[in-house]
Symmetry: C2
Subunit: 331 residues, 2 copies
DNA sequence: CTGTTAGCGCATTCAC
DNA sequence: GTGAATGCGCTAACAG
């Protein structure tokens, strides 16, 4: 392995000079800089970054904690993070936790043992959480909820849900079903709050029978659709708390011979790439996934740079995407 | 920062003993091991892995080179890789190249500067390729094609395509359209070869007019479907070289009032998660994505361990998934 | 079984 | 502008 010492010898200079040639070439005489460059070229020298990181006490890398890498929303956030990290010369370590807290622990460990300089967590914080925040671990939460006790970037889940439901009300719906996430899921809780607020502002009574618990999976949507279809009368619109469940629900209603949107309107949440390809295309809420990633990375780098961020909570705007899965109810 | 020296002092032992307590505790006397553990606990000591890596000359991490992280096939492969890496105590560095060769170069650089011990490349090798193989860079190719000049894990693209087309022929189709990838794409080339072989074995003449060039995108499928629909007579079945294009084609045919599979059969390739949810569900080829990931990671670790692998090319079995998008042609 | 010693490759003092 | 010397935190001889 060729080291900085070999280069120094080849160039007839000291290792200090070679080191400087790499980190601050402007402090060298033109003459010696040339010599160093020549020697590096000749010996095909590549600095040992492991040594550099050790010496500089920085891993130049960050960890992304993601519950499930096989999820297009998350990968889009990751893209945003990576763009910013790369610009900063940082590597991105992937931490697919598969919703396991022990796995999460393992990855947080990377920061505690200095293999990474900070962490971005892609799941909502909840009150029983012991993973983060943690002293000595620089962390940012991305796409979480309100009241996250460490720096965060997210959308306004309550407002977004409210907007969707208000739209359904505005085109004439009043019996509006909901398929939620797990009752304890912070996103589900916030989106349900938005639903209730929209109803309340329109003076529509909240009917708990119209609220079915799901788990953000396709099957939950399918299953809930069967229950809704059997109600008498069935709701005229369904607000699904993510696109995945909306897809399942659409499938379920269609199997029962109900037409979308003529017989029942469906809305989702996330705007997955496939959602525009469904039959009919899905009305949904688009989260600025890539922007969330970029912003959270920028925030993390402020922490890493010890630049005490002026703002530690960013709420990014969503976009209501009107497509063919919603229409006025039949009279 | 608390170091191994602090622990040694606290325990009244040498740093070497502390080091051994961490790496090979069985060589210590019970007594001293206890002392060390106590001191570690008391001081909340965490070893500096940056130092350890430097000293041991190993980054304990591998890079995944992926053309597009927002692609479910790739993320599934990545899951497989991560499972194995984690078992080995390695971290996974994400290299989303966005199909840019200069980006790819950057990530390969991580190995050359010893920030990573090896690399897994998730795209087919082609003959003009300068990225890999490269001396001193341990690399494995995953989900590529035949004749990759370095260790690889893949499926039999020719055989898989042939199987699909043979099936279509077996249920009575003979005018079978194809939507390919870009002409220069190695996967597209191999799958087309499979298509031709199937025709040839059934003594059906190859008609180049039935082969439309796509680029693996939804739009390519949509566009090709328009051209097929205008042919006189149109083909009775379409072999799409990936699911994404099949989804686009289905949409296009349906918009023109053609029913699937009554008027036209459609097949895909990949078996994306959504493919089973389409209307009708898509007949396709399932690649063992997670297995491809696991196998390629295992192969890379053999290289890293200098265990000269007995086998450097693995061809994994695919699964033909028969769903509702195919049927016999109308008489 | 344990301690002493040396050094991994690099960046940073501090003289000159 | 440059070089000599030092040490980051850890592990691996080697000797005892």
């Amino acid at each position: 392995m060729t080291t900085i010492r070999d280069v120094a010898k080849e160039a007839g200079l000291s290792t200090a000079t070679v080191s400087r040639a790499l980190s601050s070439p402007e402090t060298l005489s033109k003459e010696n800089l040339k010599k160093v460059q020549f020697a590096i070229e000749k010996l095909q020298y590549r600095p040992n970054m492991l040594s550099q990181k050790f010496r500089n006490k920085t891993a130049k890398s960050i960890v992304i904690l993601v519950p499930n890498i096989a999820n297009l929303f998350f990968t889009t956030v990751i893209r945003g993070i990576e763009t910013v990290a790369q610009r900063r010369g940082f590597s991105v370590l992937l931490g697919d936790t598969r919703d396991s807290s022990s796995q999460e622990e393992e990855y947080i460990n990377l920061v505690e043992t200095r293999q990474a300089d900070g962490i971005i967590q892609l799941r909502p914080y909840n009150d029983f959480d012991s993973a983060l925040p943690r002293s000595q671990v620089l962390a940012v939460n991305a796409s979480g909820c309100e009241n996250t006790p460490y720096p965060s970037v997210r959308i306004d889940n309550i407002g977004a849900a409210k907007e969707v439901v208000k739209y359904l009300i505005s085109i004439g719906h009043s019996r509006i079903g909901v398929i939620t996430g797990l009752k304890t899921n912070p996103h589900a809780i916030e989106r349900l709050e938005g639903y209730r607020k929209a109803l309340s502002e329109a003076a529509i009574t909240y009917d708990p029978k119209l609220v079915l618990e799901g788990d953000f999976s396709y099957w939950a949507g399918l299953n809930a659709s069967a229950q809704f279809a059997n109600m008498d009368p069935p709701p005229t619109a369904i607000f699904c708390m993510n696109d995945q469940m909306a897809i399942g629900a659409m499938k379920g209603f269609k199997e029962r011979g109900m037409r979308i949107p003529q017989d029942i309107s469906i809305t989702g949440f996330d705007d997955l790439e496939v959602s525009r390809y469904l039959d009919p295309p899905l009305t949904t809420v688009a989260q600025p996934a890539e922007k969330i990633g970029e912003k959270s990375a920028e925030l993390l780098f402020q922490l890493i740079d010890k630049l005490d961020p002026s703002q530690t909570e960013y709420v990014l705007p969503i976009e209501f995407v009107l497509r063919g899965s919603t229409a006025a109810p039949r009279k």
